[in-house]
Amino acid sequence: MFKHILLLLTLTLPTLAHAFDVAAALGAADAYRLPGQSMQLDSHVALYEGETLTKERDYRVYIKPGRRSLVLFQSPIEAGQKVLMVEDNFWLLMPKSRRPMRITPMQKLLGDAAAGDIATLTWSDYYDATLVDEAETREGRRCVHLSLTARYPSSTYHQIELWLDSDDLAPVAADLYVTSGKLAKQATYQLEAVEGRRQVTTTTLIDRLQNDRRTVITHSGLKEVELDDKLYNPQYLIHAAPEAP
């Protein structure tokens, strides 16, 4: 009997020792993109067709716990435009009318860069993850492969295949699938040291529905900013944007 228990322990202990904590890994990967709870960041979006830069756009994003994001369009040609996302609810403000307008999850996907690409910077708040493989090679690095399924129907992508660096769980690449099951985009993440910590500073999205299109999102100015709750009220959108602290 003792021999059987010893044999069982011998077989299972190494497995238990290597049990991979998927939730912790996803949280660690999130921290490379959004190191705090209530944050402000600037996103510069550059659209390429082939190697030609066709368009550039600037956005300021405010993120708050409770799946709340406020996107301010900063480029002069669309200045004053805002998108507010509160859980599964979305509103758009066009500056010439100053009338907040509710939009459907489908409409959130429209435009040069899907609002979710700019304003959804955590996976753990929106997706349930499972471990696919602990040792895959992606972008020439040894990676942990996670499969993420959207917790909410309004999520920009229904499923995400995510690869994290095996050494430090930094995001390396992701395949982004829409509800129809089509591979919409493939993302790669570039990290740099910012104020002493490694952060995702560039996200490159290759459009797989239109193969020659590439979007490069550069994140900067990341800082903790606690905005008043009323700024996430759709009717407040008609008020002036929050001023830089």
């Binding site: 480029s75 040609i77 100053r98 009338r99 489908m106 509800t179 709750d229 001023e243």
Partner: protein
């Protein structure tokens, strides 16, 4: 003089605190007229070109915001230039309230083609070429919760809105909004001299990923409507008049569908009790046609009726409906390069149809080009078929700089 004023204004403002945008737009347009249409002026040309160049300057900082717009327009042989402050307001917080004073856009409602709840701004939702609306002089106190808001607005149009709110320069509005799970609810209490009390409600409901419905309803204590009696009634002594009536209803119901590929379809029906009835339009056309073709057969009293009708037609509010029943359809595509849209405004009672085609394109990062064409048509007795302007084309080019 105006340029010196702007320079002085810019000089007075502490520039590091400003977020500024400068817009430049050029909008040439061409109209084709049906010069023999009953509702055409006697000296109506067949074609007329217009050109407009506009400069917009938006500034914000320290809780204040201003938008100035200057434009130079050439219409036929006439030229005119104007500069106006579309918005200029400051906001401040006090005792949990947001207080705003100044000229501000106050559009409200959920409709696309028409908004019964938009009682203060009176945006013209059927405007063809883009032209930013002018704000309303107002003072407001607003309370914001997590998903609710309440706003008390006092507006005084003074002389700034001569053509729109002149008959009701002072207005009070209490607006309530609730943004719930997939559902926006709006409620309104309003008072002004022209309408007396108005109550209104609205909703926008996102049914699923792709579908949404919206509706608005207002009931106003007083309203005016143009009534034109038939030729027989004119002969019997009735008159063309803009009659004051009680308890008017305006209602809109609509839905929209969007696809992941970029298509959006909007369908709306609205009812406006203050619009001239189909019978009034038919009587108007009968009267004008007879005056043009056989003036000797006009019944007694027609001369003053014609004068009254001409005057009434000149004061019809552009933001209002031309007929009580209206059907609106819009199919738009958000493309990678081109953004086309087709809009149909249908008058079901007389079969009139206004078809609008728009085509937008962004040029690089800072320019936008928009082309539009509107054609009015319908059976011989339809209102749209009898308006002077049958076609209009426009091209709008915009660029913007920021600093």
């Amino acid at each position: 003089m105006k340029r010196r004023g702007i320079t002085l204004l810019l000089g007075l403002l502490p520039t590091p605190l400003l977020a500024n945008t400068l817009e430049l737009a050029a909008t040439p347009s061409l109209s084709a007229y049906h010069s023999t249409a009953p509702l055409a002026a006697s000296d109506q040309a067949d074609y007329e070109g217009r050109g407009r160049v506009a400069l917009g300057l938006t500034m914000s900082g320290h809780g204040c915001q201003a938008e100035w717009r200057g434009s130079a327009t050439r219409e036929g042989d006439e030229k005119h230039a104007e500069g106006r402050l579309n918005e200029a307001f400051c906001a401040s917080a006090w005792q949990g309230l947001d207080l705003t004073l100044g000229k501000r856009r106050l559009a409200w409602g959920v409709g696309y083609g028409y908004r019964p709840l938009d009682l203060l701004q009176l945006d013209d939702r059927q405007q063809l070429a883009p032209n930013p609306s002018e704000g309303v002089p107002q003072a407001s106190a607003e309370w914001f919760g997590l998903s609710d808001s309440l706003a008390l607005i006092y507006s005084n149009a003074l002389d700034w809105q001569q053509n729109r709110l002149a008959s009701s320069p002072e207005a009070w509005s209490l607006r309530y909004f609730h943004g719930g799970e997939a559902l926006d609810l709006m409620a309104l209490l309003h008072h002004d001299a022209a309408r007396d009390a108005v109550v209104g409600v609205g909703l926008a409901w996102v049914v699923d990923d792709a579908w949404a419905v919206h509706a608005e309803l207002t009931r106003q204590q007083r309203y005016t409507r143009l009534d034109v009696p038939g030729l027989g009634a004119l002969a019997a002594g009735e008159q063309v008049q803009t009659q004051e009536r009680e308890n008017g209803t305006k209602a809109l119901i609509g839905g929209q569908w969007s696809s992941a590929e970029g298509w959006t379809l909007i369908g709306e029906y609205w009812w406006d009790e203050s619009a001239p009835t189909h019978a009034s339009w038919r009587h108007s056309l009968d009267l004008i046609t007879l005056a043009q073709q056989a003036p000797q057969q006009l019944p007694a009293g027609s001369t003053s009726a014609l004068a009254d009708l001409t005057q009434a037609l000149g004061t019809l509010n552009q933001a209002a409906s031309l007929q009580p029943h209206n059907l609106f359809l819009r199919l738009a595509y958000d493309g990678e390069r081109w953004d086309p849209a087709l809009e149909l405004l249908i008058h079901p009672e007389d079969g009139g149809l206004a078809t609008t085609l728009r085509l937008g394109r962004e040029l690089g990062s800072a320019q936008r080009l928009e082309f539009g064409w509107r054609h009015l048509d319908g059976p011989a007795d339809a209102l749209f078929a009898n308006l002077a302007e049958r076609d209009r084309l426009y091209l709008d080019w915009q660029t913007a700089l920021g600093w």
